[in-house]
Amino acid sequence: MVKITDEMLLSVEKPGRYIGNEINVVYKDAHSIDIRFAMCFPDVYEVGMSHLGIKILYHEMNEREDTYCERAFAPWPDMEKVLRDNKIPLFSLETREPLCNFDMVGFTLQYEMSYTNILNMLDMSGIPLLSKDREGFPFIVFGGPCAYNPEPLADIADFFVLGEAEEVINEILDVYKDWKKANRSRVEFLDEVSKIEGVYVPSFYNVEYKSDGTIKSRIPKKEGCKNIIKKRIIKDLNKGYSIDKMIVPLIDIVHDRIMLETFRGCTRGCRFCQAGMIYRPVREKTVNTLMEYADKLLKNTGYDEISLTSLSICDYSDLKKLIFGLIEKYKGDKVGISLPSLRIDSFSVELINEIQKVRKTGLTFAPEAGTQRMRDIINKGVCEEDLINSVTCAFESGWSKIKLYFMIGLPLETMDDVAGISDLAYEVVDSYYKVPKDKRKKGLSVTVSTSSFVPKPFTPFQWDAQDKIDTLMEKQYFLKDKIRDRRITYNYHDSKTSFLEGVFARGDRRLTKVLIKAYEKGCKFDGWREYFDYDKWMEAFKECNVDPSFYANRKREYDEVLPWDFIDIGVSKRYLVNEREKASRGETTPDCRIKCTGCGIAKFIEDGECFNGANFSKVHENK
């Protein structure tokens, strides 16, 4: 246990980040435990504690009597300095135990720009950065969405978990417990754990490259290594472990409310969206299950707000019944219901109007692209009329602040498509003035935000070149110039950050050394504008003799071996190729609740049935 003095805590910003002691935190006698697991989020406390996944795994692991799961987050640089100056290793919040004394240290990979923070957290713990140097130290395990391209972290990880970790974690812990009792070698554990479906041990494979730098082949180093790693999923979310309590932080965090997970997966098939592919198939929780867990969570946390989470909440098949059920049941208790992500249809505006009787702050819509041509290419199944109807409905209901999300740099994009973003914003302004003066609220404000498209693995655009930084900036300036209206604000993302994200999203093993080099140069908190240092990154690429644009800006052929090809997410490559071809032709693909589009996931799940019995009334009503 490390000693953190009051003086140290008083010298840093927000000391509440480091004190633990929250509501529902788990305390166990660490000495009577077989396995100590440190669950880490490579960002600051307020961000990490807003993530539902680590809360689920924390409580699920702590259900086991033989395991004690604790948490650690990236200390903010002021605290890092205090710890390093006093030679204090990074510690867990529960028992203030240095991470190097744990059996396993797990990191969730939520975004590529957090990778340097992982290295920093390992270094602060005194744990060697490379797996091969880690004899006598904890096993480092990675999971989360970015693990679907594990290769840039291949030399750092001891192993990866692909898919939903709740489904696998108990198998891993069982194997570990046996291994620890038998007092066997490190590689013997990796051997054993690699036999579990969904577990990938990168050190068991060699990668050979062609002279043009692309991958020639992956070769298992020994017999018995799986050629294909299948992701793991929970078949029925209504069965098995479900979270009924969660840690309630003592300080304000980014998402400080109950997150009630309604379903996983998405049937829309937007071609840019990785989540829409990797989380298939759609699995819903029933209204009864959700009502039951909402009740437990409210009682156990004391929160007064429930956020219904999923990839696109308005697709939940019984949404009205769920929302009105919750409102009716908790109207005396002042519980608020919120919907985080909105698709454009007037139904959702009416619904929001119903649940937010007070304080009409702002409404966010994501048309994603400015022209119908572009929206067809990305298969975002909405049209301009949908948007205008929805915002009109919003203006009529008393909203006057609208946010619109778009992407620039999408495949096949022309300047006309970029111009379409500004045209659409002006049409939203026009539709405000079409609402009679006495019916609309004063103070119209339209915020247009563009993010820069990053092609991701396991999407139909995984072969496409990302726009170069200059091209992205040209498009941003073009829009900035075109949007000259005090009622419209235009925001855009830093294109250098998007470029680096693009490099690591589709990178391979050769990036590990660049990552370490950049870290050694001082790169950390790359997702935070005040810390991101593009020049240092470019120096690191140069010194390692790695060309970043090879990964970000190069168009791949369909027959190229991609670094993540050995992972089976259930959606077939054939389907992705077909979707990419349809994009070129501007053809759309229907929502798969209407008609099966043959993505392959039905074959992947043993019983062969998508949706496990959800009813689709909502989608059919719409079409």
Binding site: I23, G302, V358
Partner: protein, 234 residues
Amino acid sequence: MERILVKFTKINNIKFISHLDTMRTLNRAMRRAGIDIMYSCGFNPHANISVAAPLQLGIESVSEYADINIQSTVDLKKFKDSLNNALPLGLKIVEAVKIEGKKPSAMGSVAAASYSIKMKAMKTTEDEIKKVIENIMSQKEIVRLKRTKSGEKDVDVRPFIIDIKYVDLCEEELSLRLLLRTGSRGNISPQMVTEIIEDFSNKSICNAHSIVREEIYAQKNEKLIDLCSYLLGE
């Protein structure tokens, strides 16, 4: 509706959360304990809990006070126990009393607070320390820059220091007791007083490493009475 005055502690690591975070934590504890709190009317209903005097981050307290309005009658012991079960370590209700009749709010009653502080005293003696204190107390005026809602301005803070008492000096650790004006009619933070002590001692007394609020007082005629007794009308 019933008004309950609670006295609670905020000690150990929980001193590192802000006043707003403390309010939020109290509110959620009430909800977990299943206490029927009253909610304010208006656009954004919030629980009817009001803490008598905000405590700055980093300062501990063994007697914080809050008014809580609840909907229906409760058994006070049950109220206290269930709330304590729901509170995090360091926050603890030590007393809960019903306030009947027309009484001022806890917040509106605050006139002063006492603190015990620990500072480092190097190369100095009890006598010298006492002289420093005497010197401070004999000043007619001590002007300090104070941050207010309307910006920063120079204020004579001397009237807000009611008393500084020497308690003990042990291996360079000096214990003092401060009695300071607190609340809307005049307020000085204990940190500012420790800075004044640092200045008047030429830094031979420095580094206030522990500050604990011991009691909060209301004023009746010329006498200071602890908030609980005052509101109970004793």
